[in-house]
Symmetry: C2
Subunit: 362 residues, 2 copies
């Protein structure tokens, strides 16, 4: 429905480009919670006030020298149908909460989709940055630059004692959440998730599923992020998270080596079966496709499957989600009717089959 | 180890040839229990007496006019290692009990393996005949001719009131068990096994799994046979069994039509997945291969898979059994070592994959 790139190109920079340790780390992300002292915080803000804030963000000029010549779109999300907004959720560019919000909401996003600012989510502004692989430092630098740029136009509420003030006090201080999305099939297969991730809270970090807080791990994807935002500097959090992720990456690689040494045949069988089902099945549920794509990706990383680009995993994980499938169906069938579960499963199987067969290197 | 065809060619006539209703009925079989009045019955017979009986069977001349010019092998099973005898069990030519028996046991079998006589099983002689499809009448005629022929040399114990006398009184009378092996995937998938097979005992018939009495249904294969051997003639049993099987065949076909009409996509998905796994997996357990081969066969019968001969199902069901795999391993690896479970699963997957890829019509 919209001409914006974010709705029409299903790939973001982080999905398509190589990164450090990207055999295990899919992507890194930093988000900064910021609020303007000129408006009430989200609990009491009116829609009219939200609109005023939105207009101020929309007025931030593109391509100015002091803005780093960044070329970004401003999207008024209150004009976008909810099903289109779900596409941005699946691309990890907006939160599920923002997609469902009733007020005046918006998104400022650059062309590569490495930087995005959600407007009127839980905080007035949520500045975020995503890069491929283990790159929390890059994310922090990008988000920090965006933060400085925006502060020219909308200064942030800051207290010398409490730091950045946020809607929820657990975010106050740095207002930062830094995270990395890890693919840990070997740790999961050997039943060692608790062993290797269970003690993260001791260090002020936590692990969750693909969709953030409260979500279950799917496709062996685990998001590791900081829990503490006060009493530590951004640089300390970034450095600690990088160390923690590196140590988990090493554990995952060790487990992969052990599996390849001790259970090579079973592993090959598992990977080859996943490939056979993904390239043949007529119906695939979300959960099954996640599991099979995880096995496929492991097979690519272990060199069992040589004909695929590992990045096809990222693309298919995003594109086989219901909102994205629905979007393609609307565009190709010119209908607004919701798909049945059977139709979704069929579309998903068709899409994955075609992309894998078409995407295999010959 | 032996030069006999029965050990070296894994295919019998019933596996390779077409038959009536063979989209549902895999094979038919008739066996006649016979005993000689010259020897004690199996409970009290000595090994010396068993040997004498065996010698009399071994002396029945080949290719005589009165023997229907039949060309058969006589195999002294007491000279055959138990693992080789297991191969005959998998081919359904001897019973598991005969394979394990310690005494002087034997088998007379014709070249096409449509007729076989077990010697010193539960009865002195068990004359059996197998043909493809719904052919219990052909089986009865073949077994009856063999019975007449053998009676020239070894007359059977017969009582004008009790009929043929047998070791177990439940077999006395006709001494006949007639059966048909049915592949009923649609009845099984729609959960109607009990509905369509549950009332067989009312008519003096019963259903069992692939390996006869007490065995569990595997691969959706059900053996339907008569329970009653007294008070009814052979012809009546044959005619009733034929009618019953025909009615089950019609039910199975109706259920297949209904599934194709109402759940075509799910059915195609199931069949295509089975084919993908059978042609790609590196490891296959017996149980999984039975399930997948059943789905494959259904796909062939429904025209979803066009590139395979339906008879490949029979061949693969037999050849992927452990004793047959072990036999091939002994011959190709020249080792007497038993295979591990992992090796069995790998051998089975290799065999099925090669046969299916090699056996597909281009």
């Amino acid at each position: 429905m919209t001409g914006y790139r974010a709705f029409n190109d299903m790939n973001s920079f982080w999905m398509e480009h190589p990164g450090v340790d990207d055999d295990v780390v899919i992507s890194s992300r930093v988000r900064l919670a910021r609020n303007s002292p000129d408006f009430p915080f989200s609990e009491t803000i009116t829609v009219q006030e939200e609109r005023k804030l939105l207009d101020r963000v929309a007025a931030i000029p593109n391509r100015k020298e002091e803005n780093g010549f960044e070329d970004f779109d401003f999207i008024d999300l209150s004009l976008v149908p909810v099903e289109e907004k779900q596409v941005l959720v699946e691309k990890h560019q907006i939160s599920p909460a923002l997609a469902m919000a009733q007020g005046a909401t918006g998104l400022m996003i650059n062309a590569a989709e490495t930087m995005a600012v959600m407007v009127n989510e839980e905080d007035h502004l949520r500045i975020q940055s995503i890069f491929p692989g283990l790159s929390v430092k890059d994310c922090w630098e990008k988000a920090s630059a965006a933060d400085d740029m925006i502060a020219h136009y909308i200064p942030a509420a800051f207290d010398s004692r409490w730091g950045y003030l946020t809607s929820c006090p657990t975010n106050a201080g740095t207002g930062m959440r830094a995270s990395a999305m890890l693919h840990l099939p070997a740790i999961a297969m050997t039943g060692q998730v608790r062993r290797f991730l269970g003690n993260l809270p001791k260090y002020g970090f936590t692990s969750r599923g693909l969709y953030g807080e409260g979500s279950v791990c799917k496709g062996n994807l685990f998001q590791i992020s900081n829990q503490i935002t006060m009493g530590v500097s951004e640089e300390e959090i970034i450095s600690q998270l990088t160390d923690i992720v590196e140590s988990i990456v090493n554990r995952e690689r060790e487990m992969r080596d052990i599996l390849m040494e001790r259970e090579r045949l079973q592993l090959e069988d598992r990977v080859i079966r996943a490939e056979a089902l993904l390239t043949h099945a007529k119906l695939l549920s979300v959960d099954e496709s996640f599991e099979l794509l995880s096995d496929l990706r492991l097979g690519i990383d272990l060199g069992i499957l040589k004909q695929y680009d590992p990045k096809i995993f990222n693309t298919l994980m995003i594109q086989s989600q219901v909102p994205v499938l629905e979007k393609f169906a609307r565009e190709t069938r010119h209908t607004q009717e919701k798909m049945t579960l059977l139709e979704q499963n069929q579309q998903r199987a068709d899409l994955i089959r075609k992309k894998l067969i078409g995407g295999a290197r010959s």
